[in-house]
Amino acid sequence: MKKVIVGNHAVSLGVKLARCEVISAYPITPQTQVVEMLSEMCASGELNARYIKVESEHSAMAACVGASAAGVRAFTASSSHGLVYMHEMLHWAAGGRLPIVMANVNRALGPGWNIWVDQSDSLSQRDTGWIQLYCETNQEVLDTTIQAFRLAEAVDLPVMVVLDAFYLSHTAEPVDIPDQALVDEFLPQRNATHKLDTADPHAFGALVRPEDYTEMRHDQQLAMARAMTAFDAIEQDWARLTGRSWPALEAYHADDADLLLLTSGTITSTARDVIDERRAAGDRIGLLKMKMFRPFPTAALRTALRGVRRVAVLDRNVSPGHGGIFAEEIRSALYDMPLDDRPMLFGYVLGLGGRDVTPAVINDIIDSTRTAVSPEREDLWVGVKS
């Protein structure tokens, strides 16, 4: 059934269809609608889940950790300061190998106080051990939320579904809402291997000696690697059931392109329009959309970029003292490629704190990438006023 809904509600509906059993969250703009709708569903009985009110995001994640350890499906949603406030617990969730799903609405960090889109909040959680999936449309948000539970449970790792503030969170689009029966077929009940059981209590997350710690982390790394393959399988299964596909790395007119834009989030949609126009005028330009940021799709990227001359990475985020975070990561993924195959990488930092990224901005980027001899610096800041 198609409904016109905002991205936040696409998350809520996904969580409901996934038959999530415990939800704990703390409200923060622009995420609040996600959990508001879920709390109403819990109150009305439409969703048979326990909603745990907490006094902070740190506690929200702690509650999810406990619930997930006890073997149930747990979910939270956050944004910006809320997300960075739960930073410590993100490590506990991942290290504890708990398949928690979270939606994070990308929002800038203060100061200055800013509620608009910016990826620095989720990207600064890069090393917590969470799988990260960035979405472009509300349909993708809903589908990814459901997929996230299956992925998380397949590899015992937590998954963060990421969506842009306002462009997705508060903008309504037609979304096809799958039947419960379809979702039930796709996503069976969780079957946890280790459960916290009050009748036979054991200490979870207790002391681990130096002799064993490395193996724990290594196992986490192996799971991340498995997540890569698992995601593709899950994706295919979803495509079989719904006809919709949201690959980890999506190519758009990339086959014969001499210049590729590398995007994530809603900037992708704007870039698609620009590409359509330019293609109509005979321009051989294409795009790679990065949905998956962790695990990092290194192999797929190398394949997709082999032989491409120039790449422009559009980063709506920045790692101060270095550059755009996607650009950094892609650069390091390309390092092992033979020099001849390796494209010249232009890393643009733009759209911070919700500044609009218009087709004109993207056109300028394309033109300057084409005309430059080589990138002037690692971080090319777009539209900085003097």
């Binding site: 290290g95 504890g96 190998r97 449970e153 397949a154 590899v155 015992d156 291997t193 280790h194 009050t198 036979d200 209590p201 054991h202 200490a203 979870f204 997350g205 207790a206 002391l207 681990v208 193996e215 724990m216 196992d219 986490q220 790394q221 192996l222 799971a223 991340m224 690697a225 498995r226 890569m228 393959t229 698992a230 399988a233 695990p295 290194t298």
Partner: protein, 598 residues
């Protein structure tokens, strides 16, 4: 990165202790321990009838309506009536008042009462051979009769008037207590097996004779004689006892009172007189020698009277009634000021130097108090102005108990009901003791809701509410954890008249659209069944565990578990480390921390 299979082949490597943590008795860390104990809600402690308000609100919340009705009827046989006329001190005590608005207990009670009246009365099985005589069929007499019948005794109620009900029928106007409700309530009692003998005056030798046929006699003859003003001109035909006026109107007569009516007094009789006079077309003025604050009348009644447009002349006392020409009288009044507090704690009115003024009136209604009628009692059972009774209602005369307005209690319907219940317990105890039965040597204080009235359930020892480590402490607002509550607006009737913006449909105010035509129809429309349940859900269940399970969820040591076979919880002190989370979080103060070893 290597890329192994997708399948969930091996469990993830996580740190889990191989041995059970039960070996780690965290309980040894503590120096304070939680105690799971139900206390007493303030509403229960303040209800003059001794109703388990908290208990039935909780049953309503759980949707157990039949059980809730039973819990009310154990203590209060006429919720339809108390729900209408009780001054509801429970709501003054209600902890929720300190959070938003007090729970509208009387309105919930009233809706329950109306349900009771539409159901067949309980079958009160006779289990004792003894019969008890009740003299007077006002609220005290009715309550005593009902409770005795419920305890298994045969009961006969003697009433001097043609119909039972006492002051409920004769003194309380229709617009507060519709006759229909009262009639149905009396029928409910007689259908339940209580015998009524109306038109029967018990006094002098008749009183003595009752003890030949009855094992005990309960005298509740009320207070029916208006106290005189004690001013010159009081014998004027223009001066009438307020209570006589109300009785006449309640009999269906319409006394000639003219247009201008002065009512003297500040109690409920005065307000009833003024509002009744208004409904007969008069323009009443209430004369009271203190101020609004000291008025003993039910505050809501005063509010309503004012909103009906009745004038009040405060700090004014009548000094003389002058007979003028025609049917007019001049009431000469003196201005008063408030002086030192008197024995009642209220500031005493003393004459000011401002001189006197006069009010013209066709009728002066006196309502400065009533004297009890004690004719049914032997002389040694009464002081000059009231029956003498002990803690359980017994008079010094063997076999004779007393209660209600005649026995010097607070002059309210609910206090009268409460005194009737207490005497029923006193009589039961005396008869059973006489029969050689083992009557628990109960400390009477333990039967009380923490210093309030006696609980019939406690006396019978068959409280249907399971109490956990019960104490008799009142749990005040400071012991509640309001973090777990949400604000919910009270159904109808905000705390004071200032809150009223739109007249609820069905009230006298709404009917009297032109602001004058008040009728004798019931002023307050009460709550619908749905609204009553909503209101019951506002109750915070102060001091009593309502199984919310917060403690169970929040105890970090999983030391709290559901009691096997019971309704409550067990705290495993082997693992409780005394962190205090449960006591801190319990929304209703049903867990307290105590020192180790105490």
């Amino acid at each position: 990165m290597s890329e192994p299979a997708v399948t969930h082949d091996s469990p993830p490597r996580i740190s889990v202790s191989s041995t059970s943590t039960l070996a780690n008795r965290t309980g040894s860390w503590k120096y304070i321990r939680p105690r799971y104990q139900d206390g007493v809600a303030p509403c229960n402690a303040r209800c003059p009838t001794g109703v388990d308000v908290e208990g039935y609100m909780n049953l309503l919340r759980e949707g157990r309506i039949a059980d809730a009705l039973d819990l009310v009827l154990r203590e209060n046989p006429m919720p339809a009536i108390t729900g209408r006329v009780c001054h509801h001190p429970c709501e003054l005590a209600c902890n929720r008042a300190q959070y938003d608005d007090p729970v509208a207990v009387h309105l919930v009670e009233r809706e329950m009462g109306d349900r009771v009246l539409s159901m067949p009365p309980p079958v009160l099985r006779r289990t004792h051979t003894e019969k008890v005589a009740v003299v007077g069929s006002g609220p005290a007499g009715l309550a005593c009769a009902y409770h005795l019948a419920r305890l298994g005794y045969g009961v006969t109620v003697f009433e001097e008037a043609a119909k039972a009900g006492g002051m409920l029928r004769q003194g309380i106007p229709d617009y507060r207590l519709p006759r229909d409700i009262l009639d149905r309530q009396i029928r409910w009692f007689s259908d339940a097996g209580i015998e009524f003998r109306c038109n029967t005056r018990i006094a002098g030798e008749y009183a003595d004779k009752l003890l030949r046929d009855y094992a005990a006699v309960f005298v509740a003859t009320g207070a029916h004689r208006s106290r005189p003003l004690g001013v010159t001109g009081e014998d004027s035909p223009r001066v009438m006892a307020g209570l006589d006026f109300l009785k006449a109107v309640n009999r269906g007569e319409a006394p000639e009172i003219g247009r201008r009516v002065v009512v003297v007094g500040g109690g409920n009789t005065a307000i009833d007189c003024a509002r009744t006079a208004l409904r007969l077309g008069a323009t009443p003025v209430v004369l009271y020698r203190r101020t609004r604050q000291e008025m003993p009348a039910i505050a809501a009644e005063v509010d309503e009277a004012m909103r009906e447009g009745i004038a009040f002349e405060f700090l004014a006392a009548p000094r003389a009634v002058h007979h003028l020409q025609g049917r007019q009288a001049g009431v000469e009044c003196e201005r008063m000021v408030l002086g030192e507090p008197d024995a009642s704690g209220r500031r005493r009115p003393v004459p000011s130097n401002a001189g006197t003024f006069s009010i013209l009136a066709e009728t002066v209604l006196t309502a400065i108090g009533e004297e009890p009628g004690l004719e049914a009692l032997p002389l040694h059972a009464a002081a000059p102005d009231q029956a003498l009774i002990d803690e359980l209602g017994a008079t010094p005369a063997a076999g004779i108990w007393a209660g209600g307005d005649a026995a010097g209690i607070e002059r309210t319907v609910s206090d009268a009901l409460g005194s009737g219940k207490v005497a029923a317990i006193g009589i039961d105890r005396a008869i059973r003791t006489r029969n050689g039965e083992e009557v628990p040597p109960n400390d009477i204080a333990e039967l009380r809701w923490s210093g309030g009235n006696i609980s019939m359930s406690r006396w019978r020892g068959d409280d249907p509410v399971q109490r956990h480590g019960a104490t008799n402490e009142v749990v005040g607002f400071d012991r509640l954890n309001t973090a777990h509550f949400v604000h919910v607006t009270r159904q109808r009737e905000a705390r004071d008249a200032d809150h009223v913006t739109v007249e609820p449909v069905g009230t006298a105010f709404e009917r009297a659209t032109d602001g004058t035509a008040f009728d004798f129809g019931e002023v307050n429309p009460g709550l619908t069944a749905m609204q009553a349940l909503e209101e019951a859900r506002r109750c915070l269940n102060c001091g009593v565990c309502n199984q919310c399970e917060l403690c169970l969820i929040l105890c970090p040591d999983v030391a709290i578990t559901r009691q096997e076979g019971g309704t409550g919880f067990d705290i495993d002190l082997n693992y409780c480390k005394g962190c205090g989370v449960c006591a801190m979080e319990c929304p209703r103060g049903a867990i307290v921390m105590t020192r180790e070893g105490l």
